[in-house]
Assembly symmetry: C2
Homo-oligomer: 760 residues x 2
Amino acid sequence: MKLKSKISTVSILSLFFIGFMLSCKEQSESPVKEKEISHSGDHPKLILTKSGVEQIRKELGNIPIFDASLAATKEEVDAEIALGIQIPVPKDFSGGYTHARHKRNFLILEKAGLLYQILQDEKYAIYVKDMLFGYEAIYKDLPVHPQTRSYARGKLFWQCLNDSNWLVYVSQAYDCVYDYLSAEEREKLETNLFRPFADYISIDNPQFYNRVHNHSTWGNAAVGMIALVMDDAELLHRALYGLENDGLDANAKDNDGGFIKNEDGKAGFLANLEEPFSPDGYYTEGPYYQRYAMYPFLIFAEALNNVKPELKIFEYKDGVLLKSVSALLNLSDADGDFFPLNDGQKGMSYYSKELVTAVDIAYHHGDKNPGLLSIAEKQERVLLDDAGLAVALGIKNGKAKPFEKKSINLTDGPDGKQGGVAILRDNDIEVVFKYAAQGLSHGHYDKLSFSLYEDGDEVIQDYGLARFVNIEQKGGGNYLKENTTWAKQSIAHNTVIQNETSHFQGKYEIGMKHHSDLSFYDFDNDNIKIVSATEANAYPGTVLHRTMAVITSAGFEKPYVVDLMSVTSDKANQYDFPYYFMGHVMETNFKYNTPSTLKPLGAKNGYQHLFVEGEGKANNDNAQLTWLNLGRFYTLTTVTDKQDDLFFTRIGANDPEFNLRREAAFMIRKKPVKNTVFASVIESHGGYSPVSEFAVNSKSNISELKVIYNDNDYTALSIKDLNGAVKTLIVSNGDASKTASHNLNIEGENIQWTGAYYFK
Amino acid sequence: MKLKSKISTVSILSLFFIGFMLSCKEQSESPVKEKEISHSGDHPKLILTKSGVEQIRKELGNIPIFDASLAATKEEVDAEIALGIQIPVPKDFSGGYTHARHKRNFLILEKAGLLYQILQDEKYAIYVKDMLFGYEAIYKDLPVHPQTRSYARGKLFWQCLNDSNWLVYVSQAYDCVYDYLSAEEREKLETNLFRPFADYISIDNPQFYNRVHNHSTWGNAAVGMIALVMDDAELLHRALYGLENDGLDANAKDNDGGFIKNEDGKAGFLANLEEPFSPDGYYTEGPYYQRYAMYPFLIFAEALNNVKPELKIFEYKDGVLLKSVSALLNLSDADGDFFPLNDGQKGMSYYSKELVTAVDIAYHHGDKNPGLLSIAEKQERVLLDDAGLAVALGIKNGKAKPFEKKSINLTDGPDGKQGGVAILRDNDIEVVFKYAAQGLSHGHYDKLSFSLYEDGDEVIQDYGLARFVNIEQKGGGNYLKENTTWAKQSIAHNTVIQNETSHFQGKYEIGMKHHSDLSFYDFDNDNIKIVSATEANAYPGTVLHRTMAVITSAGFEKPYVVDLMSVTSDKANQYDFPYYFMGHVMETNFKYNTPSTLKPLGAKNGYQHLFVEGEGKANNDNAQLTWLNLGRFYTLTTVTDKQDDLFFTRIGANDPEFNLRREAAFMIRKKPVKNTVFASVIESHGGYSPVSEFAVNSKSNISELKVIYNDNDYTALSIKDLNGAVKTLIVSNGDASKTASHNLNIEGENIQWTGAYYFK
């Protein structure tokens, strides 16, 4: 009962606002009739432009990737037209029919609009018009969506986010048929559908609209896109700068546990462009959400650039939007899959439609980077607009070059001072090292964590999110409770865990206040790529300092990974250090017992989700584990004390609905100690083919790994291979500048060097 | 000490035999000098022939796939020549260095011989000659291999099997350089290396040589190949017919637990060709071992055909050798991977070198099947001999056509009367139904088991073997103890298990005496492919009757699988029925509990290797499980009683060295009952893409599954879909002839039909 009365209040409020705005508009701008006269004939102008249409029609049949994209789109839309228009009464969650149908409708509407312009076949305009009037007929009487889970329920969908998706796409369709419709038809659509729609997702839902968050970006872009089509200055202002008085509670949170109210009160598209992107173009929520957010960012930016070029949106914040496309592409593995940092679903890649948009727009509006053309070639499709034409012509004219991904450091934070993400690359090996800020509500408690890839395959995995996006059977396709109890917890990541508690006690409020700090990075040498960072707040009183390097060394078949984590604390603590290796255990150099019944490793903070499959003692100075994955052998060698416990764990305990994947980890546990060092080397070596049945180079090339020095100033590791060759890596724990001179005596030998680290 | 004295006895014995044979030979045949005069200039004659060499040299540069194979081989051999010859003292098991090196040596020797003939570059002949004399220098003083695990230890390798591999390949190399060597050199090689080698693997190891088993096939072929090169009639006789007096114990067994002595005392190549192959070309050990055995079968057959065409070896047993190639290709999935029946390692495929041999020889010596050319195209290489030339020319001349795999029934047993294997195929769906004989020592206790594939991916898996072939870290690359305790046991398969004991009590001696029986099959209809078989001996007093069908039906997106197993017993028993589904649980229609600690399902017969991950009660007439695998949804719907227990299990309990894969099963358990029916439908439906994040058709189309009739005469199942359409399948449990008339009243309706089953 309470809910119902709230809904009607909102509806009445909406109506009030619509009325208010209409009257404002009529007063402040030219009357509708006049506008039509002055603007009719200017459409399309948003994404596809009049001159773009002319050029495209001139080149048609002569631009292979564009022609193919057009043919595929035509086939898809023609099939939908044949099926007929379906506008069901909204009812379902993400995975259900009504959700999927409305989603499909807006995707098809946009495409049909483009087809109308490019093919100049009226049937597409008729389809768009009929569908729009179908929505117009129901919209004003629609209650809020019956599913009550969202902090900001939509009308067509269970959350305003999806309603905003709808408007972003449908604005483009409307732009394409604008001139086809009569003034009366436009008036009707705008009055009954577009304006109330824009108001509902903004004025009626400030908790959704007025944030710095990917949700709001969609909302802002939706309002802005329709504003540009309708030439509505007030709506455009609302899109760019947000609502002035939102009346939001400073402590309110969304469904993901994120704060709604932005600290400095900024909102709107420009604030969303300002805050979550670092100067390097890294988006603080991580690549999965960056990919999702890229579409509204870029499509609205392109529209702004076309309609309001004086805003110079692509130059905003030193060109951050175009930089962000490059950053995002660099956050993918060799197969183009995005690293699943924070809440990221594995398998999402630069083959997604958002990245087709991003790549095409970045090429067209950026510096015509020929590397982007090679990605477009892999995507095998382009946008059916001016940007897509530019890409198609670039490819046709043989301008494509490989998009080279090198080692890269991407800062986090609006000013680039809140840590970052580094990717070390050498040949097929990629180390993703995360020392970033919390990443808003989609962040994980994974300070200084890493993941390892070889040629696009996971070797040491980051679990990603616990969710089956849009699969209705799995919690309606939404976040599962295991995302909180497992996926976000520190133990779910390849980093250190103190006293079985997560970083920042697993509390968003605390995590949001902190970030890790870069110590140094150096990618300029052929034989070593290295990055080093510290974290002083995850566990108050404890400083974590992790250095990761990818090293090419004679005698080793491939580059190997060095992982050096020093822990300094003001009191003794237990430390756990898991490695989520992918594959099948081949061999260990230590003894372990496998229990006949499997019990959880702990009771909370994610530990309740791990079964202990094996337990052993490090009986040696080095513990070694070799495994086989996808035809390649890997060995982890780690420095151990005799009192260290070694565990084999497997994910899946306390998982009553089989929401988690049954994957393994190897974990080192150090008994309570104040200061300690975790030092490991991970090698990729040899391979096995089940067809030839040859096993090649199946063993490690490491004979000894030793921490030869460790204090507040320096941590040093020696790596001896089977031929007796020794490499030494020394990391400065203090001054990490490039120019600092160091002098250290280790085991009787005096070593002098300049810079943050020594390696020889 | 005992071991050592045994070795020297064997060696002395060998020397005795060698001396004996040499003198026999000299008396019965022409003296060596004469032979050389009459035969010199006839080599090569084995696989590559003189006229073949001429033709190849004429076509070189003009036969793309042959040219490419030649270039690849040249590069490989040149690299080995550059490395230099290494003949280490034998020491290691399969995965170790000396094993791998000797294996590589014989593979390279054969290739170098071919290169010498084709390229007429003396360096290859020199390499072969030097390597042969390297072996000649050490062979006569070699003790038996120091690893003692084998029932028949080799000299170069830990088992005679691998020594035989060596001789099969090296005979070909010798043939290629025969004319290059002087008479004295040949005499020295034959006296010190080839003859003693052939004797060692035959006379000195009758327990290896004189069996009907793939091991013996290799031994026979090895002796036969060198016999053909040396033109030695006695050795050839020994190859074809075995040893006459082997002195073998009728109860002795090999390492795999297989009987050594053949019942009827037959041995030699022809006996091995006679017994394990059915008239359809199915090899009783299964495709993995068939693939392994194919090489010696075909290469020796080809050599026999070339040198002794009067034997008409390819016509032997109604052309069974060429039929077996077709059978083997049909025993592969859509990707060309062999179904891992019995002891089969997954991933072995028609891309293996043995299948290159098989395909090329079958094309050249068979009916020039253009489908074989398309497989050769996929293999991207051909043999560097007459057969390879024929294939290369066929491809070049555009004769290749797709190799179409249809539903097929392959009988088992020398006379085709010991059950068989049926593969039901419809579109991308493949059901592999095994109702065969025991399959010798590599057989599993898996009567009436099945596996299900879609487009080359496992949906319901057969576990295959528990072994990492040639990976030294895993038990020397040999069979692991879990192969016996898990992989062979009935519970490891998708079939019925009575009272938690394996078929035939898991005893080879019993299993060898029995086989399942075909009831009927019918692949002639578009909408149903069906096979039905019975097993009366796995559990004395119990008859199992399983019918499997792949059905295409309106309203279903893809063909679905019907699985109908009726069990009739003379007493009440517990029945377990597992389905080893691959993928992630999406949804069930029944409630289950997941235990907080995982315990094994049982204590023996493989049950000790399964953890219980979930347990529920069938609260309904149908239990339903939906899972997601590799982007596709699957649903199993099964008829249940309220008292049935439902389990989720996972492999991996009591696995102290992580030898087993952590994969899942869904299991139905029926409380003690005399007669019962397990009836299920498995659907493949829809899909999910992590890139588009669309979930399509993610739910089952079955509304009700019901056993509507079951007695000694008939079992009937009705399948109702969500639209209310009903299909009925009736299987005759008695007369299964095509002509029998049936008349049955079910639920008041009278149904009449002719033949073994009714479906409408």
